[in-house]
Amino acid sequence: MDGNPALCLALARPESMTERTGAEWSAMLAAARETSLLGALWQRAREAGCDQDLPEPVVLHLTGAAWVAERRAEALRWELEELSRGLLTRMAPPVLLKGAAYLLADLPNAHGRLANDIDLLFPESEVERAESLLFFEGWVGSHHDDYDQRYYREWMHELPPLAHRQRGTTLDLHHNILPRTFQVKPDADRLHERSVAVPGPWRFRMLAPAHMVLHAMVHLFSETDWERGLRDVYDIHVLTNHFAARDGNAFWEELVVEAEALKVTWLVQRALWLCHRHLGTDIPREATVRLAAASGARRISPAARWMFRHGSQARAASCTPLQDATARGLLFLRGHWLKMPPGLLVRHLFYKAFLAPKDDEENARHQA
């Protein structure tokens, strides 16, 4: 079995891990390493109680990854404590997105997950004020180029990423979940209105369950770079399972209604299809039917199915590297096509290809 199906099967049905051969394990570990899913794999094995039945070298690699994830989570928690004590207390509590929210809400995908940066969502009118306040705590912008500034501030849904001067942690300040120039513009006020307080003593909010799942879906399906696609698919799968088990039909109802309200129904259809294809996510038939009947629904063509499936595979252990690479190339074009209207897109890609300073030049300039 090639590494991708083995990994998907292990995440969906952890008991299957005890049946893998040595070569299959090697392929599966390579795929999990590439998609940052090693820690998740260990977590799944422990939940299923088969962690002690795995081959010894596998146990070592997985526990090591779990230690690193634990350490990252600890560091992330510490950064969030700093943020929630600092100058941001002068503003209304921001909404935590993605990894930080999963961690503080103790959602099942947080265990073993490698969080990279902190993502905060502010109302559009306040996001620049947050940026100014954070500057006094050592958070500085990383993109100084005029073009990059304009790219983020005029066209994107976030400000140029901030990095902490001493610790190097990155922090993204968002005011929406999709770029301003994207084909559809979700109503960000709706995200704030329905957001809920993070449990415990934290001065943060997080998205409502349906919005949290929608954000994970929209994030992957508007992406130009699908390198870690499988990790995002796993996040969507676990969150969907978790909320569906907790809230039952009310969750699916909410998901359909909110997808329509945020105008992202067609992205949700694709995300659910891909989760089911890779991880066998349990999706009630009624939800699929209602999504297909909702406004903004679009049929998924066989070519698109092929592209999403191959584009989200890990490359390290795939038996179909050429197809995967082609699919990834198409996803790159698709992501850009959705991200900007054609005129702007041509301009942007022309700038990036011919006018933007190359990395080497930029380094040379910094050294000079």
Partner: protein, 301 residues
């Protein structure tokens, strides 16, 4: 590897991959490059090889980049899990690139052990750690000790098991550079070195196979007893200066690749190690004299 024969070796390298066992790790190696096969056959002669289809920790491939350049100025790429991790090198450096790539796999992909940039040797179950930056004469000292009563654990990456408090290593070949190649050839005439490769980033390099005993016991752990920070200084008399546990800890942290990644676990692991060992700074100018003083160290004098 010895019983495989050159044809079978080439066949595996070109096909599904050679599964080479070095201590605790199995590396799958694939390459069509003749110098890679030749280098492996000579340097890893005594190492065990696993049958195809078994588990491997790391996946390595060496091949020429698929560009037109291969016709007039051939180069070589190192790929780990099908991903190129270094800039390409000139084609004749394929073998040393494999060694550097295998080092990279250990320092970048191992998370369940603290990985120290240090050499380590063992005597009667007690381990000597030699952490040092490049250019301090660590490899030369390590190569000489490995032929003078000490079992080589590793020349490059010490693996510290934080829970057990023991160290082990892959017992891979020792990388010798420039003048130290001749020094070791003179000092240990029985040592097996592969033909030097010139003009690399590190100058001229040659890899020395560890003595057979070290290869046979590769991966066997030992209890750390001494941490010595070596520095070669031409003409200097061999001299130990004792380090406090605190200073030892700081020196170890500087030489640990995944210290930050493992956080408190790393701090406590290295702290416990520093408390248990005797630590020294060591300056030396003559290998024969160094052998004598390390003998005395091992015998508690």
């Amino acid at each position: 590897m010895r019983c495989l024969g050159p044809d079978a070796l080439r066949h595996r390298l070109v096909g599904d991959g050679l599964l080479l066992k070095t201590g605790p790790f199995v590396t799958r190696i694939r390459s069509r490059i003749p110098s890679v096969a030749a280098g492996l056959a000579s340097v890893y002669r005594d190492y065990p090889v696993h049958e195809p289809g078994g588990f491997h920790d790391f996946d390595c491939e060496l091949r020429a980049p698929r560009t037109l350049r291969r016709f007039y100025h051939p180069q070589v790429l190192f790929l780990s899990d099908r991903r190129s991790v270094f800039k390409p090198l000139a084609f004749h450096q394929a073998y040393p690139m494999l060694e550097w790539g295998m080092n990279w796999c250990i320092t970048s992909l191992v998370q369940h052990r603290l990985v120290l940039h240090a050499a380590a040797l063992e005597r009667e179950g007690r381990a000597l750690l030699l952490p040092a930056p490049p250019g301090s004469g660590k490899s030369t000292l390590c190569a000489a000790l490995s032929h003078n009563g000490w079992r080589l654990l590793t020349d490059e990456s010490v693996l510290l098991d934080v829970d057990a408090g023991t160290v082990s290593g892959p017992a891979r070949p020792v990388s010798l550079k420039n003048a130290s190649i001749e020094v070791i050839r003179d000092f240990c005439p029985e040592a097996r070195l592969n033909p030097p490769v010139h003009d690399t980033l590190k100058g001229t390099v040659s890899h020395m196979s560890p003595p057979r005993g070290a290869v046979e016991r590769a991966g066997a752990p030992a209890s750390p007893a001494w941490v010595v920070f070596p520095r070669y200084c031409k003409g200097a008399q061999a001299r130990f200066t004792e380090r406090s546990p605190g200073a030892c800890l700081v020196g170890l942290i500087d030489n640990t690749f995944n210290y930050a990644a493992l956080g408190a676990r790393a701090f406590h692991g290295l702290g416990a190690l520093s408390d248990r060992v005797r630590a020294f700074d060591f300056v030396y100018g003559d290998l024969a004299e160094a052998m004598t003083v390390f003998d005395e160290l091992a015998h508690g004098r």
